[in-house]
Symmetry: C2
Subunit: 239 residues, 2 copies
Amino acid sequence: MVDKGVFAYIADSRVPEVHALLQKGELRVFDIGDMLYTEGQKIDHIFDIVSGTISVSRYGRDGRRQILGFIGPQRFLGAASTPLYPNTVVALTKVEAIAYPKSVVYRALSASPEFARNFQEQLVKIIESRDDHIFTIGQRTAAERVAAFLLHLRANQARFAADGPREKNEVIELPMTRVDISDYLGLSVETVSRAFSWLKQKSIIDFNDSHQCNILDLNKLREYGGRDDFTEHRGAALG
Amino acid sequence: MVDKGVFAYIADSRVPEVHALLQKGELRVFDIGDMLYTEGQKIDHIFDIVSGTISVSRYGRDGRRQILGFIGPQRFLGAASTPLYPNTVVALTKVEAIAYPKSVVYRALSASPEFARNFQEQLVKIIESRDDHIFTIGQRTAAERVAAFLLHLRANQARFAADGPREKNEVIELPMTRVDISDYLGLSVETVSRAFSWLKQKSIIDFNDSHQCNILDLNKLREYGGRDDFTEHRGAALG
DNA sequence: CGATATTTTGAAATAATTCAAAGGCAGTGG
DNA sequence: CCACTGCCTTTGAATTATTTCAAAATATCG
């Protein structure tokens, strides 16, 4: 388990303003279901996730929900172009996050070109990850979306796994519910469930329980969900 | 018609490195169908669009295409987290764009915190625009997607329209084909065409020709396509 | 262990796609 | 100027993927 957020890695603490930033960070702990931000809220701090998983989502007038991303350790969130944050962020597991005052973050970004450059790179990676998502829901069938989703989780989980001898049958943790997955993929719950069953019946995956998935045939999974593999990266992920 | 790109607005030319950047910009002209970038290309410059419209898209193995965005004046493109650019960018109309060497852009970003801050804000706006897009294709029906698309175009065109007395029946220019629209919205061409016909038949819109749309009833259009209106902004739009 | 929520499966309904063809428009050459 | 060609757009009918409605199975929690 990592005990730092991503800012500790991308910020150069030799710069005084950056050092001050890292000092000002305040660890906060959230339980399942807690909200880190709510839609329309005026926010004054950036969260840097240390452990756990959150979802970033957006609601339509009539209650339709779209999940924009599932975000784990070593990502930050809270950047927005307006003072009012446009999304809802909920803890899917117990979450530890470091809260940094926004003003102090901006001061540090101004003072350290290196931090600013790394920060920009994280933003670009978020855009690229959104683009993957758009491709997935715009062009793929239900089974392909679910396959792509599993590969996406796998790529992100791999980032922090202890790299012992890699097992042939990899395990993917699914900390979210089927409803969350369906709201992420733009499908109904039932369709997501059927897609899992279909992949299972084809011996491409199977489940220990509904939140732990084994990949039995990675190549086949890639045939359905692959463009390439998704890009792995430590980094940002706002919404 | 604007004769500058967005960098001229967001960069502080009193900083020598920024001044040098603006000097180094080189105007290029593209015809309909020309490619500004191709997928997997190693790119060494950022484009800042002065006039015209381009599409940013991504292809799947079997040829499926997803358009990630349509981009007009006062936006830049070319930022990527890897040396190889992941998308294809094509001119939909005649396009004038200023090409800036990437290295010079990065030097200017390091030298001017103000430019860096504005640049970051543009990146955040791109993310927010991608989020709108994800919501649209993840949660909306065909007619709603088309309505949302029209509102999106309207918001962006409004940015540079001469603000004389606003007409009741607003006109929206559609420089792209129906196939482009369908690849943007994750629908088939036929479905897009039917959605237009449906909105027409409800007297919400009508067409002068297939690339010029009148909004007859903006409120009704918003009932279908609105979350709120889309945020208008001069700014970035990479892909 | 019982109660509640989540996940899976089944059958019917529906939105969107596919296949097919007609209509419209733009450009080219006679 | 008109006719021909090719492309883009619209409309129609049949097919299909996904959703919706309904219920059973499974897991979770006090």
